[in-house]
Symmetry: C2
Subunit: 295 residues, 2 copies
């Protein structure tokens, strides 16, 4: 599959459900070949589930080269004995917070545009592409508007959601509080697919809204955006059900799973120019929604 | 400028003509801040010219950090003395060759599709993005068709041009010989913009030909190609004047000048997946032209 997110989606069940399936078949532990696009020896990790009715066996992700090495030994008829020495554990839940800042709209302050990312990261690496740099892009949208001394007609709100990786508790809490306040979101934009070179925006909205947004393409093309497509958005904003448009920023995906959820996801792997162009694309789109509305 | 090729084009005159301009104003040497997109200290080099009527003074490109350091000293009012110790020299011209291989067409063997790159490189680095990997993509187009046991209707010819960097002697010799043989090129495709993630194809052709090619976009999109645009092609194939379509493969350009003509242009900076997708795009386009013609 050319789209690495589609490939990941189809393959990752081996890790997510591996322990359940293996234990059900009598295994005492599982080792899964990392679900990654990079042929190195850095384990790629992420969420995995147990089921209460089935033994909770140890489960690990191996680097590609270690996994291939073991495969070769098995192919050669070797008998392999592996000792698993794991230090991972489940901690109690702890209090955490969404981080929110906004520029109030001058004409329609009750009409809110959310721009955000998630502030937590998987434990390996620094969480640069997933999703520290995405959060910085969201902050920069407001920062650029402020630096340019622009006063938006609608409220532009930056939300850095907590706990996307495990339970999406931050997204759920934001949506619940927003519902109770009867807030009116006209759009929400999320950057959570890395900060590689800009390609497009995924949009969940009525087709009339998408048609309208596509008229903005000539402006967005200046930042490298080539398309606006129906479908998808972001893992946090998708819970903001009242928003007229849920919008996911989509950079190129070929390198994303070289970094994602591994020790490779470090800030030196962020290309400043590519990140800045994505920020520019998000800022322009946010401004257009703010000034022109979306319906 | 967002497009780094456009930015390079506007800035590079400072290096190309710097020695002429400076010597004309009485300078005894020139140092130019590297024309690059990467803020490191690796000099970015390339062609520079003298003019016979003006003294031929020494001319060097400095890494960005060295250039900035010298600028700060000047701003601080320091008097700077620089010793230039250069070992560069002009060698005599030497015999070199284009490298050519082809699969003869089964129905219209006299109709030729060239797919190529240039086999020389600037002296710094390994010439990976410029243009070793581009040459490999051109070879792979033929290799993939052969591996798939496909027999093209038209002749598909791989040409690796020599001496693109200095005089384009390979391109000129190919065009002259082709003219003398009265060969009929229906299309030529060149990869000489690095092997980063695929974006589109630049095409110099009649608008009817471009309209026809754009109908192939749904197939090419599978490899990441988002557009086919009028204008431009490649520095070698542009001399094949009889070709009905001159086509430049266009990958993303944000990282290209991080590598180009510097010690950074090494094969470890080639992303295999991105390169392979470009090869797939070029192969599909070549095959479509071969089987369907282009007019």
């Amino acid at each position: 599959l050319v789209n690495t997110f589609a490939a990941y989606g189809k393959a990752v069940g081996q890790r997510v459900k591996g322990a359940i399936e293996a234990a059900g078949a009598g295994a005492i532990g599982t080792m899964v070949r990392s679900v990654t696009s990079l042929n190195d020896n850095t384990p790629h990790t992420g969420v995995m589930y147990y089921q209460d009715s089935i033994p909770k066996i140890p489960s690990v992700a191996l680097g590609i080269q270690d996994a291939e090495f073991l495969s070769r030994l098995i192919d050669d008829g070797e008998e392999i004995v592996v000792n698993l020495d794991l230090s991972c554990q489940n901690h109690e839940k702890a209090l955490s917070y969404n981080i929110i800042g906004e520029i109030r709209g001058s004409e329609f302050p009750e009409e809110i545009i959310v721009v955000g990312g998630h502030f937590d990261a998987w434990d390996k690496g620094q969480g640069a592409h997933d999703d520290g740099a995405g959060c910085m892009q969201a902050i920069e949208v407001l920062s650029i508007i402020k630096q340019l001394n622009l006063q938006p007609k609608r409220t532009i709100r930056c939300v850095l959601f907590t706990d996307e990786e495990q339970w999406q508790a931050g997204a759920k809490a934001y949506a619940a509080r927003s519902d109770s306040l009867k807030e009116n979101h006209i759009a929400a934009i999320e950057s959570d697919r890395g900060v590689l070179t800009p390609r497009g925006f995924n949009v969940t909205a009525d087709s009339t809204v998408i048609d309208r947004m596509q008229k903005w393409l000539p402006i967005l093309r200046r930042t490298g955006i080539d398309w606006i497509r129906e479908g998808g958005s972001g893992p946090d904003i998708r819970r903001i059900k009242d928003a007229h448009a849920l919008i996911g920023y989509v950079p190129d995906n070929q390198r994303y799973f070289d970094y994602h959820h591994s020790a490779n996801d470090t800030f030196d792997q962020v290309h400043a120019r590519e990140m800045e162009l994505g920020t520019a694309a998000m800022t322009i789109l946010t401004w257009l929604v703010s000034e022109e509305g979306i319906e």
